[in-house]
């Protein structure tokens, strides 16, 4: 008899528990690879903030992978409430191919939907034995450069464009000279990994090459986790402003009934609290006050954006990385 009462009580608690779970909102944030740790922290902070403001519990799940592969997963039906990807063209693809959000998505959030930025830096061996200080040094004889393949890696496209922009902005720089510079640069690349993480491992763990081109946050991670005392970071005089973008996926939130929560989550990314978390993960906050507080950990670099140098991502994508584009021309099969 007692056992039965106990059993019923357990059943009741179980049922209660399951209804509570069902009432709790869950959001899926589909993101790119190196933001794993960043969003683990932000998700926790947002859930606490949301609970304090509304009294409602919320769970954010994150999915991570190569930016392009993640975009394709969303196009093919992965139900992301929000996407936070490495490249604007990846979210454009979701808007244009699957019509899950309007094509003017970038104008819906502050700062063109860019909550944090990054830039491309160099990682070199301890003591900088090859004396690498700026982009021009990468072309010195005997210097080997590690960067992933821009055709398979979103991160590598930023590296490529940073080099191009540097060459173009030199006195007397022309597109022809920039192309020659990048061609020369890629003749110093002995290994083309398929993704940014792979390139970092090739450089830090396999000891290949003299300099790694990497995102600022990945470079810091590599030095901290893989090569404390063995690697150091070099900031070139000039680099590109890498702009990861975020967006609400309208069709999915309409289906899930999560529009309010998803919008609040994206707004939260711009809050001082979230911007602090960005800085801790070596992403440059767009909030000026937070950036000022963390200025010490971000070297001063003249940066240029894709739009300034190349017009637009659409143009870059077609001209540089499309089939038969500039990258294909400069990296033809070696005879």
């Amino acid at each position: 008899m007692k056992m039965r009462t106990l059993g019923l009580a357990i059943l009741a608690i179980g049922l209660l528990g399951s209804t509570v779970v069902r009432a709790e909102v869950t959001l899926l944030n589909v993101s790119y690879d190196p933001t794993r740790e960043l969003y683990a922290d932000i998700n926790k902070a947002f859930a606490a903030d949301w609970k304090a403001k509304t009294g409602e519990a919320i769970t954010i799940r994150s999915s991570h992978g190569g930016s392009g592969a993640q975009a394709r997963a969303v196009i093919d039906g992965l139900e992301a409430d929000v996407v936070t990807l490495a490249l604007q063209p990846d979210i454009d693809a979701i808007a244009e191919r699957a019509h899950l959000l309007p094509t003017d998505w970038q104008s819906r959030l502050p700062n063109h939907s860019v909550p944090y930025t990054s830039t491309i830096l160099f990682v070199v061996r301890k003591g900088n034995p090859k004396g690498i200080h700026d982009w021009g040094d990468l072309l010195k004889p005997g210097v080997q450069v590690i960067t992933p393949n821009p055709k398979t890696s979103g991160g590598a496209r930023w590296n490529y464009l940073a080099a191009w922009g540097y060459a173009l902005k030199q006195p007397g720089g022309t597109p022809e000279k920039a192309k020659a510079f990048v061609r020369d640069l890629f003749s110093h690349v002995p290994i083309l990994d398929s993704g940014a993480r792979g390139a970092t491992i090739t450089f830090a763990r396999r000891n290949q090459g003299d300099v790694l081109l990497a995102w600022e946050d990945d470079a810091n991670l590599a030095v901290r986790e893989l090569g404390e005392g063995k690697l150091e970071i070099v900031a070139p005089s000039m680099s590109i402003q890498a702009e990861p973008v975020v967006a609400l996926v309208d069709q999915v939130v309409a289906k899930h009934g999560t529009a309010k929560e998803a919008a609040a989550y994206l707004q939260y990314l711009y809050s001082p609290a979230a911007q602090e978390i960005d800085a801790k993960h070596f992403l440059r906050p767009t909030d000026k006050a937070v950036m000022a507080r963390y200025a010490g950990q971000f070297p001063t670099i003249t940066t240029f954006t894709v739009d300034e140098v190349f017009g637009s991502w659409k143009k870059v994508q077609a001209e540089q990385f499309g089939d038969g584009g500039v990258f294909d021309q400069i990296y033809q099969p070696v005879k």
Partner: protein, 286 residues
Amino acid sequence: MSRANAQRRAARRGVLPGFGLTFGITTTYLTLIVLIPIAGLVLRAAGLGPLGVWQVISAPRALAAFRVSFVIAALATLANMPIGLLLAWTMVRYRFPGRRMLDALVDLPLALPTSVAGVALTALYVDDGWLGGPLAALGLKIAFTPLGIWVALLFVGLPYVVRTVQPVLMELDRRTEEAALTLGARPGQVFARVVLPPLLPALLAGAGLAFARAVGEYGSVIFIAGNRPGVSEIVPLLIVGKLEQYDYAAAAALGATMLLAALLILLALSAVQSRAVRLWMRTVAA
């Protein structure tokens, strides 16, 4: 008389009844699991039109990748055939401590996630790795060269050769070999004319499996290859590159071409397989 008839009927119809049912299940299952996905692939590629497909697969970079993929897979398979046969022979014909352990090791490449294998092999064969160091001193670079791809494909292909040859080898009657020896055959002749012929079909079948696996291999190769276009870039990587540009049709065109080429090679191999023994005996006799 009637018993003989019944036996003959049983032999014709097989042990399990219901040819209709089993055949139905076979075709349905194969259609669902194999044929429909492949049809989808071909359909995606067809969107380009014949000229479009030709442009994709005849681009210099694609041609180079096809050459890398198929030539290195073939070379790895050729190397795996004698080594696989030797391994199977050792494990079937001899009893020694640790034999079961060795036997289990052969299956390891099947169980290991291929990217793990790729990372491990790369760590081993880089210039300052355990094997890469001494080899580099000899002037042999393996990691980040086509040779690295070959090593990775040796690794993934080996179990297929060993596992197809092994059961046939176990069934071989050793008395035939003894008879050949007593009749005055030299050991080399016994191997070539008595042992190898019944093993040949299995060896070729194993080679076919190993080759098919090697051609499509992605995970382990991309870590060790260096992935330089025209030198060490494999077709599967080129396909990933196309997908990264949302060029699904071109990716499908490359994939379908690869599939077609592999299918033709496997068909040719199975055609040879049935004639291999006769062909081999004629060669040995000559």
